[in-house]
Amino acid sequence: MTEHVLQMDDVTKTFGSGRTEVRALKKTSLDVNRGEVIAIIGPSGSGKSTLLTIAGGLQGPTGGEVRIAGERITELGEKDRSKVRLEHVGFILQSSNLVPFLTVSDQLKLLDKVKKGNMKKDERDGLLEELGITKLAKKYPNDLSGGERQRVAIAKALYSNPSLLLADEPTASLDSDRAFEVMKLLKSAAVKKNAATIVVTHDTRLTDYVDKVYKMVDGVLHLEADKGGAEPLEEGRTDFLEKGGNEDGI
């Protein structure tokens, strides 16, 4: 066994064939550890979502191998991958992934209906407290602001104690103040829950809160910055973090 929650080895993804062929992902390898938070930035259409959905077992790669918590999901059918997702993966999406007819507390209760081993009551209350949504427990998603909804989405994703937390542009629908706030909460909650976390964003300012920054360009993933301290920062790369909005593809 390894401490890597996510291991991707030489993963490729090609859509279509012949003239319409799109190589969305070229040979990509990526490992993420427990408690580690990484960001993937890059222009629109560069393959970020493709990478994330393959990492979460929502689609299979064309080549290479993916392991979640040591299990080779590349060989599993949809039913078993669904089980792996339920057991190990939490998703946070761009727009709210909440069920419109459930209150905030019922959103979490739904997970109790389908899975054992979710958070205990005091642990859950702590999480809601930390995300500042304790008072929203009885409200429906429609009555929440965008920022509140994303915080609930984070709570929902973490509630099932996932070992892998995947967020695809979780702040895209928020203004920048809210975006910073949500990002900060996401990071601290994920670290506290010891989940391996990948955040896809095209907002480079948000990467202040992560351990490593990867950049995706045309299906190729580079390490941009490693602030974890173990590896030295690659020279000439850190200034990218200050560059601002010109990576914004959307």
Binding site: S82, V84, R85, N97, V99, K113, V114, D168
Partner: protein, 363 residues
């Protein structure tokens, strides 16, 4: 049930509409079934009241009572615990105010098909009859003198009895001995007999009704059939029943289709929500069960209200509407409606199973 209930509570109007459709369909089904059993009763209740096992007709009659003619003495030859002779003719009875088409039954008062009067007395004098109590509503009463079509004689009503309609006509029971004199064409027959010099003329009946039949050895020229077979061969009976039954079956098909369409539309609206849940790892089976549970809840509510409305409407119907509720049958139809609604929900289940969580996520 968790998702099912909460969604219904949050979207009351939407689900009230589905329930309303099921309610109306079940109302119609229950009503038609009431009408079917009411109309059936109109045809058969006199026969049912005899509690007979079977009936003998002549084999040339092709199971038609009016076409069957036999000697009353044959009753001694049939093998059964009890046998009763029955002569029958249809005619119009007129009490001076109202006319009504009736079935006149000639019977022997000591045999088992003799009815108990529920009001008034049985017949003792010549030309007295016990009448079906349905004639009361038409304006007949005890003591009425009835002029008959095709006969010079008059009959007197001495009592009423319940459950006495045969082939949609109210029954008049009278003594077989007198019946001979009223049977249309009796006068002509009597003349013929005089010419032919026959003495034993009073002895022709249409059928022999039996209980505890051992129809192994059927007398020559006779044919034995069970009461049910006899009823099914009453003119128009089977056709009428089939018509109503077909209508009910069509309603089942219609409700399946309506529920299928309604739920499908609701499901399609929720595809991205289901997709997100599936991405989370919530199984198609769980989501499908939720849709089925929802359908079940709505169908049960709809059918129960439909049932209540039917019973309520039944209280206010004029007696002329031949509705009678067979609760056992209604329970079966209600259950079928629920099953049929759930079959309609399978379209949605199929839709859910096919949702690709990836599409919902990358939407």
């Amino acid at each position: 049930m968790f998702l099912a209930w909460r969604e219904i509570r949050q979207n009351k109007l939407r689900f009230a509409l589905v329930t309303a459709v099921l309610l109306l369909v079940s109302y119609l089904v229950f009503f038609l079934s009431g009408l079917a059993s009411g109309l059936a009763g109109l045809n058969r209740e006199a026969v049912d009241k005899w509690q007979a096992d079977g009936i003998y007709l002549t084999d040339e009659s092709d199971k038609s009572l009016t076409q069957s003619m036999m000697e009353a003495d044959l009753a001694d030859e049939v093998e059964a615990d009890e046998a009763a002779v029955l002569a029958q003719t249809n005619l119009i009875a007129d009490n001076g105010d109202v006319k009504s088409g009736v079935a006149l039954f000639g019977i022997r008062p000591d045999e088992f098909i003799m009815p108990e009067p529920t009001e008034g007395n049985g017949f003792s004098e010549e030309f007295e009859v016990i009448a079906s109590d349905s004639l009361k509503e038409e304006g007949f009463s005890i003591g009425d003198e009835l002029d008959l079509s095709g006969s010079e004689e008059t009959l007197t009503i001495t009592g009423f009895t319940d459950e006495a309609r045969f082939n949609a006509a109210p029954v008049l029971y009278m003594n077989l001995d007198d019946f001979e004199k009223v049977r249309p064409g009796a006068a002509a027959l009597a003349q013929q007999d005089e010419i032919a010099g026959q003495e034993e003329q009073s002895g022709m009946v249409n059928a022999i009704v039996v209980r505890g039949a051992q129809p192994g050895d059927v007398p020559e020229d006779l044919e034995y059939m069970e009461s049910e077979t006899f009823i099914e061969n009453l003119p128009g009976y089977t056709e009428q029943n089939l018509t109503l039954t077909f209508m009910i079956y069509f309603l089942f098909a219609i409700s399946a289709a309506v529920v299928a369409i309604f739920l499908y539309v609701l499901t399609v609206q929720k595809i991205s929500m289901f997709g997100v849940m599936k991405a989370q790892g919530i199984s198609s089976a769980y989501l499908s069960r939720s849709v089925i549970a929802q359908t079940f809840i709505l169908a049960v509510i709809g059918v129960l209200i439909g049932f209540g409305l039917t019973v309520l409407t039944g209280q206010f119907l004029p007696a002329a509407v031949p509705v009678s509720f067979d609760y056992g049958m209604m329970a079966i139809y209600g259950a079928v409606l629920i099953v049929v609604a759930i079959l309609g929900a399978l379209v949605s289940v199929w839709t859910i199973v096919k949702i690709d969580p990836l599409e919902a996520i990358s939407g």
